[in-house]
Every structure is written in C-alpha cells, then in structure tokens.
Amino acid sequence: MADRPASAFDEMHANGVIRPPYAEMARFLEATGQDALDQKRREAEVLFRRIGVTFAVYTEGGDPERLIPFDVIPRILSREEWERLSKGLEQRVRALNAFLADVYGPQEIIKAGRIPAELVRENEGFLPQMVGFTPPGGVYTVISGIDLVRTGPDEFYVLEDNCRTPSGVSYMLENREAMLRLFPDVFTRHRIAPVSHYPEELLETLKSLAPPGCDGGPKVVVLTPGPYNSAYYEHSFLADEMGVELVEGADLFVRDRVVYMRTTAGPQRVDVIYRRIDDEYLDPEAFRPDSALGVPGLMAAYRAGNVALANAPGAGIADDKAVYPYVPEMVRFYLNEEPILSNVPTFMCERESDRDYVLANLDKLVVKLARGSGGYGMLVGPHATEEQRADFAQRIKARPGDYIAQPTLALSTVPTLCDSGIAPRHVDLRPFVLFGRTIRIVPGGLTRVALREGSLVVNSSQGGGTKDTWVLDDAPPAQGQSQSAAGMRQTMGGMSQGMGGMTQIMGDMSQSLGMPAPDPTPAAPANDTPRGDR
C-alpha cells in the first residue's frame, strides 16, 4: 500500500484497517474471488439489458442504447454517517427552497446585501414569469438531487445542487434489485435500509401538492420529452412504479386554464405534473415558441392554481453554479443555523482577485463553466497539458463571468471490480430529497464511480458507472475483523498501482444525465397506415 497517496481516503480500507461498515463485505470479497465476481458482473449485464435499463448517448456512434456500467461491489455507509448527511441534506434543501420563495417574492436576501442583486436578476435561471407567484404548498424544489463527495471519515462536501429535474433515482432502485438477485446471501449477512419505497414516497409527495377540490383524488402524471430522451427509461420506470400515466406534451391540452389529457374515453383532468422537461420547453406560449415538447397554455393553468408542477419553473436559479457559493449563506440567513454540509471553496472568475488567483494556479484547479453540465467544457488543471491550460486562460480572460474554479479535492475511493481485479475507484453520491408537506429522504442514493483508473469524472456520459449504495441499519458483527483485514491487504495488493495524481475534483454532474441540445425529440417514425391496395 506504500504507493497509495495518503490523500485519497478509501472508504473500505483506511490506514491499513477495514473500516467497520465494510467488515462483512471484505470477508465476502476475499472468500468469493475474482472469477466468481466476474461471473456476477456478466449476469448483471444480462439482467440490465433484459430489463431494458439503458441510457442513450448521443455523441457516439454504435449502440444508441447503452448500459451504464454497473459495479457489483456496493458502497456502504453506516447509519451514523447517513444520519448526519440526512440532516445536512434536509437543512440545505429547506434553505434552497426559502431562497427561491424569497427571490421570486420580497428579495430580502438581496436587500440585506448577502447576495449580489445582478447575480440573481440577470441570471438565465431566473424566470420573470414566476415573480409574485407562490407555487402550491410554497414548494419549489419538490425533488432535488444533491451531489456529495467525500474526502475523509467525516468530511463530506456538496459539489452541486440539482433543483430542476435531477435524474438517476431509477438506477438507485434498479441497482438494489439487481444486487438482491445476484447476492441474496450477502443481504442476509447485513441489515440494509430498504430503498424500494421511494416511488410511494414520491407519489405521496406529489399528491400533497394537488390543487384543492380534485374529484376522486388527485390525478398525477409524469411528463416526458419522449423515448428519445436519454433518461426516458427512468421516466417510464417512475410512472410505472407510481401507477400513473406517462404523458408527452401532445397528450395534454389546456382549456379554460385547466389541464386535460387525451384518453380513449375523452378528456380527463390532470392535477399534478411531475415534469421531466426543461423550463424553456414547458409551454410555447410562455417560453420557447418553437418547443414541440410542451403544452400551450400550461403556465396560465399553473398560475391560475389549477395544476401543480414539480419542480416549479424557475427553480434552476437555486442550483446555478454562480449562486452555489452563496448556499451556506442562505442557510444562515433563512434558517439561522450553521450549515451541516460544507461547500467546496469556489473561485468566481468574475471577481478580479479570484480571477488573478485562478489564472496563476490553473495547474492546481478545476475550472468549470458556470452553466455547463455533463462534464463537458471543463479543465482538470493537474491533468491538463500546458496548451490546454493556456487555452482555458484565454477563455477565462475573454468571458470571466462564464467560469468558476475549485481546488482539487482528494476524493474518496471504493473498491471496484475492474478487468485487472479489485481496485479503488473514485466515487460521488447523489441522494434524493423529496419535499412536499414534509421532507422525506430514502436512505441511500446513486453512487457514481469513475471506472477509468485515476479518473475523477463519474458522468455516465463520460464513462462513469454506478454502484448500489447501502446504509446499514446497525453495525455489523465485530468478530474476525482483524483477520479479514490481514487477508484484505493481500487482496488489495493489486489495487494500488497508478493512483498518483488523483487529487482533484470530479467533473460536474449532469442535471438530467445529459439532456441533449435544443429539441431532443426527433419525430418518431409514425406507425404505418394499413398496407394499401394490392
């Protein structure tokens, strides 16, 4: 283990000892061996392909429906670790929501001088259409995905907030199902907090936002851009699990500011829309007139209080990368609390002093577009060439407001099954927070793993994979720990090569797992008319 950099915290194997949450897993891995694990990995792939859990990647040729690689070794958190994260997540989401209610209302945080006015009002994520309107229940961020990274036993950082249409929760659920099928024995030896009730929690949360007086219970639908969207599988999965209709824009219409869907029995009223379409495509009458994905008149119905939208349009201002540095301040301002989860220190190139620092330290920093997603358009300083750094320096000077920079963090690793054996790979974590009348967080989340050795980019569009994420309900039995630790050292012998230079921050994570540019739904081939004359 000598050449393992001291800076990379391995969640299983820290300082030569197996950490308690992984004790049983270490024993299992040692007893199982590479061949059996490889076999499980192949079974997992067949399983995912059969179920059709795929992800479309647009920039590449070849198979348009790719699997996101699934790693069979889970990422494990103790109950204690989770409790702290969970409190921090709830606090953060409450603050983000309070911020949204404020900037579309009295704007007290601006008046108090805690955040620059132009940062809010001139932000692309700020929707003037939402000013002075309170969404149902006062909730903007009904579903959020908060991206966390870890650098030590107790050090977690928020890398990014996702307040628009965060995706990935279907992988959290399907990964668990796959693990239950592949490793039933392992589950009997752990007490793992379940996640499978997420769809019910989501449905309850959505129903709690319905306008008053729905006949026969609120009618909830999931609104998707269609089968050509990269996250379509997730849209259909969630609709299915909740037992609600999966609709496209053309299935809905608005009459007298009430939303209906077209059914075989005629029009049927819709009360709550879980929309997985970006703000600007929601309603051609209110936003982009060329959007074929949306529903004309939807915003008018929304503003009349006749339908709830989750998440609220305009919620994106809260997860803007330029607004991100102010989130700890929001926690203090709105909740009078100290933030439980830390931010990664962020330099805003717009500020002269920050810019000078960034330009002088490009080899140590990660530079990102303030409004990019999917890990595109970023510079990983320590891994970049001299030319790439010079190129970015030019871009920063030309448009400083477009860029932010963050120091490189020593991201945690988790053992991962690679072609050469089990090896440490960098991970992040996206837990999902549901906000209706109450806040609900299913214990777990989506762990994304950078499969390439030394890589920190976990985006599924950039070769990242996923792992099941376990929250243990109690500490695993302590006996035999030292033995297995010794054994593990052997197993992990092959894990340490090439770990140098991995102390940098992960790529930003895509909001919607890579929603493609403008109109992501090419016209689907139409069903043919019946075969014609002979």
Partner: protein, 316 residues
C-alpha cells in the same frame, strides 16, 4: 387510457402479429418453390408472396428480377422493407418501448429479446438450410408474445387494444394468404397435384393442415379449405373467428370508456354478421378474389375508424 398509449398498444399487437405472419407466408412459399415444375413455378410463387405482403412495388424499384434470394432478403432482414420482418420487429419494439408502463415484464422481454437477438443476425442466418429454422424462430417469438399477453395481462384497456391489433392484423393476413392463391380455388380448378399443393400450402401457412382433417375427415377440397379459413368458428385464424374477437373487443372497449360507440363498431358488427350468417357458396358466388379484396379493403377502413374514435386523441 391515453390515446397515444392505446395507439402504441394497437400497433404493437399488429406488428408483432405481422412479423409472425410474414414468416408463415414465407415458409409456405419456400415449400412451394422447392417443389419442381410442373407443380409450381418458383418465380410465380415469390411474386405472389410479394403481392400478398404488399411490398412488391418497393421491391421492384430495387430489383429487376424477382430472384428467390433477393426476395428472401427483402422479406426478412432488409430493414428498408416496411412490410418485412426486420421492420416489423423494429416497429413492435419501438411501440413496446413507448408503452413499457402498460406491458407486463413477460411481454416486454418477449419483444425486447427478439429485438436484441435480431440485431445480432447477419445474412448467413437466412441462407440455405438455416432459413426454415429462422422462420420457425420468428413464428415462435410471435407465439411467445401472444402467450405472454394472454397469460399475464390484466384484462383492462391495455390488453384490449393490444389484442384488437393482433386479431385485426390476423384477419387481414388470413385474407391475404388465401387471396394470393385464389386461382387454385376458382370453380373448375382441377383437382390435380399442382392445385392440391396450393391448398396444402394455404392450410400450412395458418397451421391448419391437421385441423382440416379434424373438421372434415376428408380429402382436401377447395371449397372446404376456403370455408375453413373464412367461416369456421373453431379455427382461431379463420376470418369469422378473428372478426368475432374484433367485435367483442371493440364492445368491451366501448363499455370501459363511457359507452360511446362509433363507425368502427358498426363496421365490425356488419363484417362479423356477414361471416357469421354467410354460406360459402354465397360468398364464393361473386368470386373468391372479389370477396377477399372486399374484406381487405373493409379491414383497412375499420382500422382507420378505430384510429379516429380511440387512437388519435379526440379533443372536444
């Protein structure tokens, strides 16, 4: 149910059935083509099949001569042929994918596995000895899908629209398979070996060669073969059996959707009644070809009317 969902289910049923039917037609034709002259003229056989599947004009734009190999390629693996097996599998899977939420896991796997397997095929899969096995495989995939639907689906609108597509397509197919060999059924057609082979081929293509013996206990007779395929309620692929189910299914759809009925109900009822109370002599009096052409045309109209009432999204 969403109109768009109903539309996808309906077409899923149709395309899945159509893939199997093209395989059935092909297997029968292949058998006929293998019989040497004077029992059959191979070129005529392939031309007839092309016409039956409605894809002759498009084939003609690509090939000057109707050679067996080109015809097989066109009907099986060539995705350019909208009526070929490849396009049917693709379209069935595309429709299934958009209505995943309305399908059972078994149905989805039946369709998706077929699609996955199909993408792995290369042109050697339809060469020589391997062709009959390939056609059996396609047929068995459609049977698996139908079985999965029948055995696992809730009897709600999802089932009804999918099943409606299946039986409407099947009626269309039976009419086409019979029509393509109508000459062998004309009055005065000789009971010679060539025509006998034609009658056999028709029965074989709807898996009814043994069924004929069970129903009639006699040597093949053209009128009885036609009767079996058109009017016998016992044969699941007869026109009568198909239209009975079309009418029943449309009825239960109306009941489940507020009771309103439309032109599609009247058409289906009229066609069912004509078959139910018709006699083979009467139907054949104006000519088998004329009768079957009428059925195929009405079937097209019926499909359009179903679309108008349920699938295209009525808006008040």
């Amino acid at each position: 149910m969403l109109s768009r969902t109903a539309d996808s289910l309906f077409w899923l049923g149709r395309y899945s059935e159509r893939a199997g039917n093209v395989a059935r037609g092909l297997a029968a034709t292949l058998r006929m083509a293998l019989l040497a002259d004077p029992l059959s003229a191979a070129d005529e056989e392939w031309r007839a099949l092309m016409i039956a599947t409605g894809c002759e004009p498009a084939f003609r734009t690509r090939h000057e001569v109707l050679a067996q190999e080109a015809a097989i390629q066109w009907l099986t693996l060539d995705a350019e042929n909208p009526a070929g097996i490849a396009a049917c599998v693709e379209a069935a899977r595309r429709n299934a994918r958009t209505v995943r939420t309305a399908l059972t896991v078994d149905m989805w796997e039946a369709i998706n596995d077929t699609w996955i397997e199909f993408r792995r095929l290369d042109s050697s899969a339809i060469k020589g000895d391997r062709l009959p096995g390939f056609l059996d495989w396609v047929k068995s995939r459609t049977l698996l899908f139908n079985g999965a639907a029948a055995d696992t689906m809730l009897r709600d609108d999802a089932w009804r629209f999918c099943h409606l597509g299946t039986v409407l397509e099947r009626a269309d197919n039976t009419a086409r398979l019979l029509d393509v060999r109508h000459a062998a059924f004309e009055p005065g057609a000789a009971a010679d070996a060539a025509n006998y082979a034609q009658w056999q081929a028709v029965l074989r293509s709807v898996s009814a060669l043994r069924a004929f013996q069970h129903v009639y206990h006699a040597r093949l007779d053209p009128t009885q073969v036609a009767e079996l395929l058109i009017l016998r309620p016992e044969l699941p692929r007869s026109l009568l059996a198909c239209y009975r189910r079309v009418e029943q299914t449309l009825d239960s759809i109306a009941t489940a959707n507020g009771g309103a009925r439309g032109e599609c109900h009247r058409l289906a009822g009229a066609m069912h009644a004509k078959l139910r109370y018709g006699r083979i002599d009467g139907l054949l009096a104006g000519g088998l070809h004329e009768f079957l052409t009428g059925v195929i045309d009405q079937n097209i109209t019926l499909g359009q009317e179903i679309g108008r009432l349920y699938l295209n999204g009525r808006q008040p």
